[in-house]
């Protein structure tokens, strides 16, 4: 059942992955690559780059990241709740709205706590 349904999507996925791969591969036979050590340096507006970029980057986004993880799970519940909405009791509808309200209060608190999130 599910397998029959999604066969088309699976075949499409294979084509979608093959499309850029084949284009990159084909372009090899039409382009002219000239090896030059200077052209293969990291681009930095003409300057000689200082140091690597693969460093311990200070990711000042952790507060949003934490909220995102919480909300990502919530959206899964919300989607299922929305799908069967017309068959639910009033209490179930109310609970989800209350749940979302509590989460919004939590988000407001978390964002108020964090003054500067990105410099």
């Amino acid at each position: 059942m599910l397998q029959d349904d999604y066969t088309g999507v699976a075949i499409f996925a294979i084509i979608a992955i093959l499309f850029p791969t084949v284009v990159f591969f084909l372009s090899r036979y039409f382009r002219t690559d000239r090896y030059d050590a200077r052209s293969r340096t990291t681009y930095e507006c003409g300057e000689v780059p200082i140091g690597d970029a693969q460093i311990q980057f200070h990711f000042q986004y952790y507060m949003y990241a934490i909220i995102f993880v919480a909300f990502d799970l919530v959206t899964v519940f919300v989607l299922m709740w929305a799908l069967v909405f017309s068959g639910l009791s009033d209490l179930a509808k109310l609970f989800m709205v209350m749940f979302l309200g509590v989460l919004l209060v939590g988000v407001t608190y978390a964002l108020k706590k964090e003054e500067i999130v990105w410099i």
Binding site: D33, T41, L104
Partner: protein, 375 residues
């Protein structure tokens, strides 16, 4: 006649034609070759093989239609930005059709251009990232139907996948992974910051986007595009869920990364953002993919809020759908050249502090309307 039946007809005709010649060729050879020929011919005429080839043809037709739309979108982008910023835009290549061929010419130019892999880059990640990005963006198109008859289906009934809308949203959100990979593996400071920004942006605008889509699913009671569009037969969701529509459009602009929210590619701060180290055809495909994502975004907004393919019947359904998607895209472009770029903390602040409560409010309105039976 739907797309499956059309493709099945073509494939059946082709297989019959080839098989006819094939069997005739087999008859002229000794019997031990003839058996082999019969087996191959029977396999070609078998049901599974025909269905497989039909689906393959459907996929190719859908991709071709999408790519033609993408060319149109890029042309509209360049022409409209020209008009708004007071210059001509492309007009030399394909003079009689308003410079429409300019994008093809640019594509060929990028195709034959040299590709430079930086020496310090992580080679595997550097080459894998564009494939994931382009592939996942193309995958969105697999489930978006242009009408009840034009879409990817696996049998004669022409039914689409059950959770098509959900699948489209899921495929839409693979991109941050590829962008982060590209930004990190290029080993360049600009790409690193651009990739981080892009991941942050797409993460924070995904939640309101999905909550707005959830309000549509709530009212329609289904994940299927056909059911969602049929639920809008009497009234477009644009009117009862107007807040949701506005939030959805803003989130789409942020997801597609066009100008008010193109922080990851802010050319005044970070040369070209996370695509800095990509040149040649890789850049070309990135450019094309932005248009694919715009097309997919416009199509999603059309199907969810603008009544899909419903409209007066003197224009075919598919054309109605495309007209609405084009209008959404034109509004995007109009916005792009009218407002300045925002700052990264402002943008994240808008996403979490304004759009998220608005999306929840919209969901609440949808729940009230649905339980009251007004919709």
């Amino acid at each position: 006649m739907n797309l499956f039946e059309f493709c099945y007809g073509i494939i059946h005709w082709l297989v019959d034609l080839v098989n006819n010649l094939w069997y005739r060729l087999g008859d002229t050879l000794p019997w031990y070759f003839g058996d082999f020929f019969t087996a191959v011919g029977d396999f070609a005429a078998s049901d599974g093989h025909l269905t497989f080839m039909t689906i393959l043809l459907e996929c190719i037709i859908i991709i071709l239609v999408a790519l033609i739309n993408v060319l149109n979108f890029l042309w509209i982008f360049r022409k409209l930005s020209g008009r708004i910023l007071d210059f001509y835009g492309p007009y030399y290549v394909g003079y009689r059709i308003g410079g429409w061929l300019q994008n093809l010419a640019d594509g060929i130019k990028l195709f034959v251009k040299e590709i430079i892999v930086p020496k310090k880059a992580d080679r595997l990640g550097y080459l894998l990232a564009p494939i994931i990005y382009v592939g996942s963006s193309l995958l969105i198109l697999s489930v978006i139907p242009l009408s009840e008859n034009f879409g990817l289906s696996t049998n004669e009934s022409g039914e689409y996948v059950t959770a098509g809308a959900l699948f489209a949203l899921a495929a839409f959100s693979i991109a941050p992974f590829a962008i982060l990979l590209a930004g990190w593996s290029s080993n360049n400071k600009y790409t690193l910051i651009g990739g981080m920004r892009s991941a942050a942006q797409m993460m924070s605008y995904e939640i309101p986007l999905i909550l707005c889509a959830a309000s549509v699913f709530l009212v329609a009671g289904s994940f299927n595009f056909v059911d969602i569009v049929d639920a809008q037969h009497d009234i477009w969701f644009l009117i009862p869920l107007f807040i949701g529509f506005v939030v959805f459009l803003i989130c789409l602009i942020a997801e597609v990364e066009i100008i008010p929210f193109d922080l990851p590619e802010a050319e005044a701060e970070l040369v070209e953002g996370w695509t800095t180290e990509y040149g040649g055809m890789k850049f070309g495909l990135f450019y094309m993919t932005t248009a694919i994502r715009s097309y997919a975004g416009g199509a999603l907004a059309t199907a969810f809020f603008l009544g899909g393919w419903h409209g007066p019947s003197f224009i075919p359904d598919e054309i109605w759908f495309l007209i609405k998607a084009y209008i959404v895209y034109t509004v995007f472009m109009w916005l792009t050249w009218s407002v300045p770029r925002v700052r990264i903390d402002q943008m994240l602040g808008v996403g979490w502090r304004r759009l998220l409560p608005l999306a929840v409010l919209n969901l609440f309105i949808a729940a009230v309307l649905k339980s009251g039976g007004w919709i």
